[in-house]
Amino acid sequence: MLELKNITKKFDDRMILDNINLTVSDGEILCIVGPSGAGKTTLLRCISGLEKANSGEFILDGQSFNPYENRDNDSVIGVVFQDFQLFPNLSVLDNITLAPKMVLHKSDKDAIEEAKIQMKQLNLEGKETLYPYQLSGGQKQRVAIVRALAMNPKILCYDEPTSALDPDLRQEVETIILKLKEQKMTQIVVTHDMEFAKNIADHLFQVSPSNE
């Protein structure tokens, strides 16, 4: 379970997140919704440690933790970026296995085996040796998901997972997210797409633009 207590984030003097309190239970899907500019992505970036919150506390399974400085060996938060940010110089398989090998020190064999199991789940079989530029948008996203999962995160975050895709692929993302839920993956999804959010979310968290 992840709890956020009184999380505040300012950019210079501009208040972006004002005293955010929220809870994500294990295995559930939380959707963070709100109009653009409200700070949804900033909130996700604070949770995933890409931005440092000015104040407040993150608590994971009862233990206080600091995502911004979480550089040790506990893999906690995985992120699927809006534009995926696959590494263009690495093949699909290397994109997925690079971090497990370099950070978790897995053997080539183990890393590849685990990658292939996940790839099969997300219909990426046979794409191992392709480079990101050879994939469609939906395939890139699935590679990004497998790459995040390969680090065994406790929570998987998505930033606007539907916005870079064709509208008819929205259904596919829903299916994937719900499939991962069946496997007890805790997921946080930032989206401005209310319909999409309602289809997948156990809880909605509304972020509204700060007045200050």
Binding site: R71, V79, D83, V103
Partner: protein, 213 residues
């Protein structure tokens, strides 16, 4: 033909010197250029200010002046190089500045998202640089590096000014002694051969990086 065979050994030994200067400059300047390029993109202002000054100095003054300064100038304040070391030292100083600028541009064209993506996968800074950033930068900078590398082959002829027997000097000496154009033509041919080989190698490297976009 007989004449060519007679002067060829001295030209080839001159070409050997040219290649030595070329080789050492490349081997030292490119890695050093990467490191300084990283420094130029750092957030630590005093460091970037010093590096910018260095680049400005090296690019803003003639290489010929730098060579003369190192070999004839520095001994006045007690720093003495032999001819060969002076040449290598000046070339490395000069070319590192150009390479640093090229790598700075390359580094800045790698999107910030790549670093963030590596960060959430908990790769360290150096793992990110080595496995993600450098390959992308190399692909971007190959054409510019290629230009500099070819320039370097020809620039190496400037060492004649501090009395080093390189290819150009060997040809010049033979022409002056024998009053014929042949040595200079041969010198031209040898330079063309060297740049052709380098161009070929660069093309190979470039096509190796064309497997991804």
């Amino acid at each position: 033909m007989k004449y060519i065979m007679k002067i060829l050994p001295s030209l080839l030994s001159g070409a050997g010197m040219t290649l030595q200067i070329f080789f050492w400059t490349i081997v030292v300047s490119i890695p050093l250029g990467i490191v300084l390029g990283l420094g130029l993109t750092s957030e630590f202002k005093p460091l970037t200010a010093i590096l910018k000054f260095y680049v400005w100095l090296m690019r803003g003054t003639p290489l010929l002046l730098q060579l003369i300064f190192v070999f004839y100038g520095l001994p006045i304040i007690g720093i003495i190089f032999n001819r060969y070391d002076a040449a290598i030292f000046a070339f490395i100083l000069n070319y590192t500045a150009y390479f640093a600028e090229i790598f700075r541009g390359g580094l800045q064209s790698v999107p910030k998202g790549q670093y963030e993506s590596a960060k959430v996968l908990r790769l360290t800074y150096w793992q990110t640089i080595r496995r993600i950033v450098i390959p992308q930068v190399v692909k971007i900078v190959i054409p510019s590096i290629g230009n500099e590398v070819i320039n370097l082959i020809k620039d190496s002829s400037l060492v004649y000014v501090i009395g080093i027997g390189d290819l150009l000097r060997a040809g010049n000496v033979a022409t002056a002694r024998d009053v014929t154009l042949v040595p200079l033509l041969l010198v031209g041919v040898i330079y063309l051969l060297m740049t052709a080989i380098v161009t070929y190698i660069l093309g190979k490297v470039e096509s190796r990086y064309n497997t991804w976009k």
